[in-house]
Each structure stands twice: as structure tokens, then as C-alpha cells.
Amino acid sequence: MKHYFEKMTDFGGPLKKGQIKRGEENEARLKEVEKEIHKAVDDIRNGGFPDEKINARGEMTVWQRLACLVDPGTWCPLHTLYNPADNEEGTTNVIDGIGKISGKWAIIIGFDNKVMAGAWLAGQSENILRVTDLAKRLNIPIVWLVNCSGAKLSEQHKFYANRRGAGAPFYRHAALNQVGIPVLAAIFGTNPAGGGYQGISPTVLFAHEKCNIAVGGAGIVSGMAPKGGFDAASAEELIEKTRHFKSHPPGSVKIHYHETGFFRYVYEKEKEVLDGLREFMKEIPAYDPKFFRVSTPAEPKFPTNDIYKLLPFDQKSVYDFDEILARLVDASEQMEFRPGYGPEVYTGLCRVDGYLVACIGNRQGYLGKGYPEYADYPGIGGKLYRQGMIKMIEFVTLCGRDRIPIIWFQDTSGIDVGDTAEKAELLGLGQSLIYSIQGADIPQMLVVLRKGSAAAHYIMGGPQGNDTNAFTLGTAATEVYVMHGETAAVAMYSRRLVKEKDAGRPIESIIDKMNAISEDYKKFSRPKYCAQAGFVDEIVQMADLRKYMTAFAGAAYQSPKSICPFHQMALPRIIKG
């Protein structure tokens, strides 16, 4: 099949003089937003105790542990700004991402021991559940850096209980083990109660000699009996007891290596724990890349940084999606599926790091006379019409058959609406695409290049596909909302405007409300909010998009659950004809 894959069709071209000139202001605007994101990320990194304080105790910070553990240049952070419960700490207190350890892709997650000694905070379990979903979708190991002091007791009601509360990850670890996905844990520091279960629920435990994991902490052991309240007398009694209380946290290496054997390995130094993990990861089963690569990896012919000049910050401006894709895939080559049909979407096969991937993206701009064929109005890219949706259904279904991972690119204002669109079955076609995505059962990732809105955000490989979407990225131009804020304001207030006007009453206050809604939509749709709320898993720089695509492709092909031999694939032959 090498004649299909080793050389595909060239696409894209170098930037023209005019594009370079007019792209400069655009690039500055995008980078301004990236700077804002970068600052927010820096705040997370620098949150909690300073590194020196942690190091003075003989401990590494989670960031230092990651730097030791992960192969240089492979780290793709996720959920850095994720803070769905709006914690005052600014974080869910776990740091995670995809990276290679000793040449093998893994999902890596660690407690931020600079912040409340790695305590459980609100929103953390949601973060962890996303990570376990990701590992399951990509079928690769999770590697934990456990250093968890247990619950932030003053806010336990926000995270302790509940279906998706702090205990849910333990069930998830069990579920991952049951489908053959190992959870490896390096354990540092004191890990009582919740921390204890974080330590015990993984598959293999690598312990630092000074760590401990236990059902309860030393503090709880000493004062378990509630007395109905506190008063001055009981406070004095407690002061006296606490002054004389000396206890070691239970569950040390003495117990869990020498007695129970829960710890499989123990190391004297923190770095040795990480080295031990790295050694172990060398032995994790994984296909050599040559098993699944269809060609030698190649960089795109055109610089990825061109995207800063190609992707307009102004949401109303049209652009050429193909030029952007040409800067993200190997050798700027592709095989387009059904060109000319459903022109509002690109569907085709590309290579990333030598692996075959399917790409789907919204094209922009006027779609030509007579399209959509079922309507007497013109079509514009960003919107979805009947042919585009049928094409995506066909393509996704065939990708499922051929076991080709999918990378989606969204910049969509939604699906065509109105009775004409309803007669064209667009409602049913949208759900049909979801059905195909779910049924394909292949790893998928999404880049929300600009707009992700209305039902189109869901159906085009959206993160709402919890089984299917491994992770979702946003960019400096990302906006995610059900509809444009001004459209929402019109939907909410147009009748009221008429009523007030007809009654001869002033309409200024309604205009103010409409502007307020519009402003709210701006506030709750922009990149930083999208990352904090979890609409996307990370806002990445344009220059890093290909790095994440490379991680996705490499991870997806590391240990796939099923295989379609190259010479038995249907899609390349259907494309060629």
C-alpha cells in the first residue's frame, strides 16, 4: 500500500507578500491572548509554597518530578488552568498531561505538593476522571505522582461525596486495570485517608523511603470521638493532649514494604523513585512505531508559525482552512475524501509523525452558486449543510472500519436552520453523525481553532463524546458558546422590545440588558474561561498544535485495541477510485 501513503497529494503554498503584511497585526493580537494564557499558567506554576521551601525539606515539587520523569520535548500539558469550582487556590491541585517516559507514551498526573501538600480540592475528581477517560481512550498507562495530604477539610462538602466525587477515581483505577491498562504510582510524602487510597488504588507502587499511605492520618488516630461540640474546657483539654502528642504517620515503608508488601519497590532518594519508574516503563508493552507508521515522519513543508498570519483573530473574517492544515501534517500532503461534495467540510487522510490520521475541518467562505442544493439561499463555510453532514458520516464510519484515529478541527457557527433545513433532514443527520462517532470506537481529538458553537460543536467530534474524544484543545482565537451573544440577546429580548415600544415605554433599559447579555457571552466564551471551565482541555499556542497532534497519533498507535491491516483498508482505495 506504499503507493497510497508514501507520497500523497501536495497542498498549501507559501504565504504571499500581502498575507505576510496583513497578517502581522493578526499575529500580534493572537500572541497577546497567548501571553495572557501564559501568565495564567505561570501563576499556577508559581502557586503555593516556593520551590525552595519544598526542596529544603528534601522533597521535589511536582514540576521538578515531571521534569525528571518525562522525556525532554514530549510534554503536552492538559488541564493546567482547569478550575471548574473556581477554587481560591486557582487550581484543582493536580497537574497532568501526555508525555513520553523512556520512549513510551503515558498519561502523567501528579498532586501539586506546593499547594496544601497536594490536598483534595473541589473539581479535582472531575480533572482526574478526564485523565482516566483519556488513558482509556488512548489505551496507554497512567503514571501517578502521588503526594496527597487528603481532603481540604473546610470544603469537604464540595468534593468528598457524590457520584463523581473524590472516591470515583478509585473505581476508575479498578476499571482501567480490568481492561488491561496499568496505573503506575510513584509515592512521596504523607498520604493519609484519601491520599492513602490514591496510593493503594494503582497497579504498581514505587515508594520513596520516607513516604506513607494509610487509611487515616496521625491526627485522626489521636482524637476520633465527637463530643457534641467544643467549649473552653474541651479546648484546654485538646491543647494539653496536642502538646504531648507524638505520633508518626501510619503506613510507612516499615509497614507497607516489609509487612504488607503493598510497595513493590522502595528507593532512598526521590530521583531514584522516578528513575525506577522510567526503568519500569521501558518494559511496558508497546508496538514499535514501525509497526503502524505508513511513511517516514516529515515536517510540514511550510512553517507552523504561519498559522498566526492565516487564522484571523476577527471571527467574521474568512480564511483558507486547507492552508492551516498544510502547516500541521507531514510533508503538507493529504488525500481528500469526496472533494467537491459537501464543500463546507474538509475530510481526508494525512500523516502525522508518519502515522495515518483522518482529518476533518470546517472550510470557510462562500460555497459557490447552487449550494446548498436543497435551498434557495447561499451557503457559507462554518455552517453545516446536508452534503457536508452526509460526507462526515460516511468518512467517520469508514475511519472506524479502517481503525484510523481522527483529528477534528472546528470553526463552526452551527447547522443550517429553518423548515428548508428540517426538510433536508439536518436534525437527523446531526444525530446520525454522533451515532457514527460513537460507533466508530476510535481515538479522536479536537482542536477548536476558532468558534465552537451550537449543535455543530457537539457533532463535530466534540468533548461531549466522553468515550470518543480523548482531549480537546483551544487556541487564542477560540470562542465556545451556544450562539453569538448578540443573537442570544435578540432571542431573549426582541419581543419585549416590541411590547415596550408599542406601550410607549422607554426601551433603554432593555437595550442595556441586551448589551449586558452580549458582554456576558464574551466573558464566558473566551479562551481563558474555556480552559478554566473545561470547555477545552488546554489552550495551546499555534506553534504547539502539531506537537499535541504528534502525541495523540503516537499514543493512539502505541497499543491500539484493534488493527486494520494497511492492505485491507477501504478509505485509501475509495479516495483513489
Partner: protein, 73 residues
């Protein structure tokens, strides 16, 4: 010889970036058309001098309408 700058779609002209007599290069900004809530920028098709501009801001255009004429170098 004159090159025609055509409207690639129907819409409303919302910005004109060229003037009669301007010396222009291929791919310079020429005109901005608003249609279906999006803005499509039209570029100068060839190097030359702007000979004639037939549309102004606010004008509605149909697909293939001639917006301007460029005298090719």
C-alpha cells in the same frame, strides 16, 4: 490590458482599500464584502494601476459583478 476585479459572492461592500490611480501589487487588499454575517476580503488580482472603481461602500453586489478595473503592468 485591463484585469477585472470581480465580486466572488453576493453581498454588501463595507470597505474599499484602493483608489483610482493607485499603483497596486497582486494580493494587495482591494475590497471587503459582507455576506451571511461573514466578511470576505477580495484581493488585487495582478500588479498594475487602478483604472476604474465601479462600486462604493454600501453598494450591494451580485456574484461576478465587476467591482474595479486594474490596468496590468
Amino acid at each position: 490590458m485591463n484585469e477585472e476585479l470581480l465580486a466572488p459572492l453576493s453581498g454588501t461592500i463595507i470597505q474599499v482599500d484602493i483608489n483610482v490611480g493607485d499603483r497596486v501589487e497582486e494580493d494587495d487588499d482591494a475590497v471587503l464584502i459582507e455576506a451571511m454575517k461573514m466578511e470576505t476580503r477580495i484581493y488585487v488580482p495582478c500588479a498594475g494601476v487602478v483604472k476604474e472603481i465601479r462600486k462604493k461602500v454600501g453598494d450591494k453586489v451580485e456574484e461576478d459583478d465587476i467591482i474595479a478595473l486594474i490596468e496590468k503592468n
